[in-house]
C-alpha cells in the first residue's frame, strides 16, 4: 500500500513586493504519512503549514520537489476523488443553502442523486447542523461554516482527509465534537492529516506529529518518542508543618511555596522526593499530594521552536 502522503524535497518560493523579492515559505520538506495514520501537522503562525497543504492539494505548484497522494502525483486530478480537504478559514458560495451546498459538491464527484441525498442527511447529522440544512450559508455562524466545511470534505467518503486547522472558530464543545469525528474517521481506517495550533487536541489523538518552523521540518515522530518520558519535577504538597520546621527544609530544597496552610515543594530528583516525604512524616506533617510532572507537548513545542530560532540567529 503506498503512503497516503509522500513529500519529497518540497520547496516553495514566493515572490513578494514590487521587486519580486524571493521568500522561501517551505524549505526542502521530506516526510511521509502512512495509510491509516492520524497525523498532526504543527507549527507556529507563518511556519508554512497552509502552503504545504495547498501544494499537497494541487492549489499551489511546488517550486521544487514533489508531493504524492495515495501513490499519485498531486497534480493528478483523478486521485482527488479519494481525498477530502477542508481549507483554512473556508469560504463558500453564500447564496446556497446548507443542503444545496453539499449537493453541489456531491455533483462534483458525480455521485448519483439518491446516494447524494442519503449522504447529505448523514453528514449534516454528523457535524450537528441538521437544523440549518435550509438556511443560506450567508447566515451561518463561523463555527457552523467550519462544520459544513468538514461535511463537504467527507461527501465522497474519502480515504485521505486533509484538514487545515479544523478546530479554529469552534467553542470547546465543538472542538470535542470535531475531535470525536476525527477519531471515528481513524477507526474507519481512514488517514487524517491535519494542521493545528491547539496542542491538547494533538496530544490526545495523534499517532504521529511533525513540527514545522520557518518552512523547515524541525521534528517528526510518534508523540511518545518525541516527548521525554522522564519526569521533569515532583511537586509535594503537605500541611501541618510551619515556621522553624520549614526553615530546616529550605536548607536543602530551594523551591518552596507557601499557599495558605498548604506548602508546596518542588524537586527534580526522585531521591529528593523520597527524602522530603520521609522528613514530613517524621516531623508529623501530613502529605496531601505528590505529583510527577512530565514534559507536555506544549513545552516540547515551545522548546523546539525556540531552539530552532536560536540556531538561525546564532
Amino acid at each position: 500500500m503506498p503512503a497516503a502522503i509522500k513529500i519529497e524535497g518540497l520547496n516553495k518560493i514566493f515572490r513578494v513586493g514590487f521587486w519580486g523579492r524571493r521568500f522561501e515559505a517551505v524549505k526542502d520538506l521530506d516526510f511521509e504519512v502512512g495509510a491509516g495514520e492520524l497525523f498532526g501537522f504543527l507549527g507556529p503562525n507563518g511556519a508554512g503549514k497552509t502552503t504545504t497543504i495547498k501544494m499537497i492539494m494541487g492549489l499551489l505548484y511546488p517550486t521544487r520537489g514533489q508531493a504524492w497522494i495515495l501513490g499519485k502525483n498531486s497534480r493528478d486530478v483523478a486521485i482527488r476523488a479519494r481525498v477530502g480537504y477542508l481549507p483554512e478559514s473556508p469560504y463558500f458560495y453564500d447564496h446556497l443553502k446548507g443542503a444545496e451546498f453539499l449537493d453541489f459538491y456531491g455533483k462534483l464527484f458525480a455521485i448519483p442523486a439518491p446516494k447524494r441525498r442519503k449522504k447529505i442527511g448523514e453528514l449534516l447529522e454528523l457535524v450537528g447542523i441538521t437544523r440549518a440544512a435550509d438556511l443560506p450559508l450567508r447566515k451561518y455562524s463561523k463555527g457552523m461554516l467550519q462544520r459544513i466545511g468538514l461535511a463537504q470534505a467527507l461527501i465522497n467518503d474519502p480515504e485521505l482527509i486533509v484538514l487545515d486547522e479544523p478546530m479554529t472558530g469552534l467553542d470547546p464543545v465543538g472542538r470535542r465534537e470535531i475531535r470525536d469525528i476525527i477519531l471515528k474517521l481513524k477507526q474507519e481506517g481512514k488517514t487524517v492529516f491535519f494542521s493545528t495550533h491547539i496542542l491538547p487536541d494533538v496530544e490526545m489523538i495523534c499517532d504521529r506529529i511533525a513540527i514545522l518552523n520557518q518552512g523547515r521540518l524541525v521534528n517528526i515522530g510518534p508523540l511518545g518518542s518525541l516527548l521525554s518520558p522522564r519526569v521533569k519535577y515532583y511537586e509535594i504538597s503537605f500541611s501541618g508543618l510551619a515556621g522553624e520546621k520549614l526553615k530546616d527544609l529550605s536548607a536543602w530544597v530551594s523551591n518552596i511555596l507557601q499557599d495558605g496552610a498548604l506548602t508546596r515543594a518542588r524537586v527534580e530528583k526522585e531521591d529528593d522526593k523520597d527524602r522530603i516525604i520521609s522528613w514530613i512524616l517524621k516531623e508529623k506533617g501530613r502529605v496531601d499530594s505528590v505529583l510527577s510532572h512530565r514534559e507536555s507537548l506544549e513545552e516540547y513545542f515551545l522548546g523546539q521552536v525556540d531552539i530552532n530560532n536560536a540556531d538561525k540567529r546564532g
Binding site: A81, Y93, H95, K107, L108
Partner: protein, 275 residues
C-alpha cells in the same frame, strides 16, 4: 512543452473518463444561478426593454420612422447590452472565485481546471441566452403591432449576435485569466470596438499608401477576429436575403476563435498558483 502536453492529456482523460459532463453541468448550473441574480444584469435588461418599447413609441408619434426602427434598435440593444453583460459579468466570474477563495474547495475535488473554466463559461452563456431570449421576445411583442408582424428571419441576426456574445465572453475570460477585472474590462471593450472597425481600418490602411501602416492594419485584420461577420443587422432590417451558408460560415468563424481564446485561457489558468 511537456507541461502543456501533460495539461492536454490530463484534460482529455478528464473529458473521457471522469464523468465530466455531470461536473461541468453542476458548475455551469451553479454559475447560472449566481449570475442570474446579478444586479448589473437586471439594470441592463430593464433599460433595454424600455428602449425597445420606446422605439414603438417613435413610430406611433410618426416622426418619419417605420417598423424598421423597431428591428434596428432592438437588434442594436440585444447586441450592445449583451456585450456589456458578457464583459462586465465575464471579467469578474473567475476573479471572484479566487478572491473569495471559493475556488479552493472546488479545485481540490476531481475537477480539472479546464472543466472548471468551461463550466463557468457555459453558466454565463446560459444567463446570456435567457437575456437575449427576453429581449427578443419583447422585440416581437412590439413588432406584432406593426406591419412587419412576427418575422422569423430576424432570428438569423439574433443567432449571430449570440455567437458574437459567446466570443466576447471567451475574450473577457481570457483577459481576466491574467489581469485585474478593470484592465480586463478595458481590454475586452477595446477588443470589441477594434473587432468592428478592423475591416475599415484595413481598407483605410491600403489606401494610405504607407507600407508600414498597410502591414500593421492588415496584420490586425488577419490576426484579430473580424466581428462584422456577426453583424447582418442592415440586411435583416431591410429584408435583404441572407443565405444559410453565410450564417454557418460566420458561426464556424466564431467557434474557431472561441476555441483559440478558451485554449489560451486554460493555458494561463492551469499554471496559476492559488495563494
Amino acid at each position: 512543452m511537456w507541461r502543456i502536453s501533460a495539461d492536454l492529456r490530463c484534460f482529455s482523460v478528464d473529458l473521457l473518463l471522469n464523468n465530466y459532463m455531470h461536473k461541468l453541468l453542476a458548475i455551469a448550473h451553479n454559475t447560472f444561478k449566481e449570475t442570474i441574480r446579478d444586479r448589473i444584469l437586471y439594470n441592463i435588461l430593464i433599460f433595454s426593454i424600455l428602449l425597445i418599447a420606446f422605439s414603438h413609441f417613435l413610430i406611433a408619434l410618426d416622426i418619419g420612422g417605420d417598423e424598421k426602427i423597431v428591428v434596428d434598435l432592438s437588434l442594436a440593444c440585444i447586441s450592445i447590452f449583451g456585450v456589456l453583460i458578457a464583459i462586465f459579468i465575464g471579467i469578474g466570474l473567475v476573479y471572484k472565485e479566487i478572491e473569495k477563495r471559493t475556488i479552493y474547495t472546488i479545485l481540490s475535488k476531481p475537477v480539472s481546471r479546464p472543466v472548471f473554466l468551461l463550466g463557468k463559461y457555459l453558466g454565463l452563456l446560459m444567463t446570456l441566452l435567457v437575456n437575449v431570449a427576453i429581449m427578443t421576445a419583447v422585440m416581437y411583442a412590439v413588432l406584432a403591432f406593426t406591419r412587419r408582424g412576427i418575422d422569423l428571419s430576424i432570428l438569423k441576426a439574433v443567432f449571430l449576435i449570440y455567437i458574437e456574445l459567446m466570443l466576447i465572453t471567451a475574450i473577457s475570460f481570457f483577459f481576466s485569466s491574467f489581469t485585474t477585472p478593470t484592465m480586463a474590462a478595458i481590454f475586452s471593450l477595446s477588443f470589441f470596438i477594434i473587432g468592428h472597425v478592423t475591416e475599415t481600418l484595413e481598407v483605410l490602411g491600403q489606401k494610405s499608401g504607407v507600407a508600414s501602416v498597410k502591414y500593421l492594419t492588415s496584420g490586425i485584420y488577419h490576426v484579430l477576429p473580424d466581428l462584422n461577420y456577426f453583424n447582418i443587422r442592415a440586411e435583416i432590417v431591410h429584408s435583404l436575403p441572407v443565405t444559410i451558408k453565410q450564417i454557418w460560415f460566420s458561426a464556424m468563424y466564431g467557434v474557431f476563435y472561441i476555441a483559440i481564446f478558451y485554449f489560451l485561457a486554460i493555458m494561463i489558468f492551469s499554471r496559476k498558483d492559488f495563494k
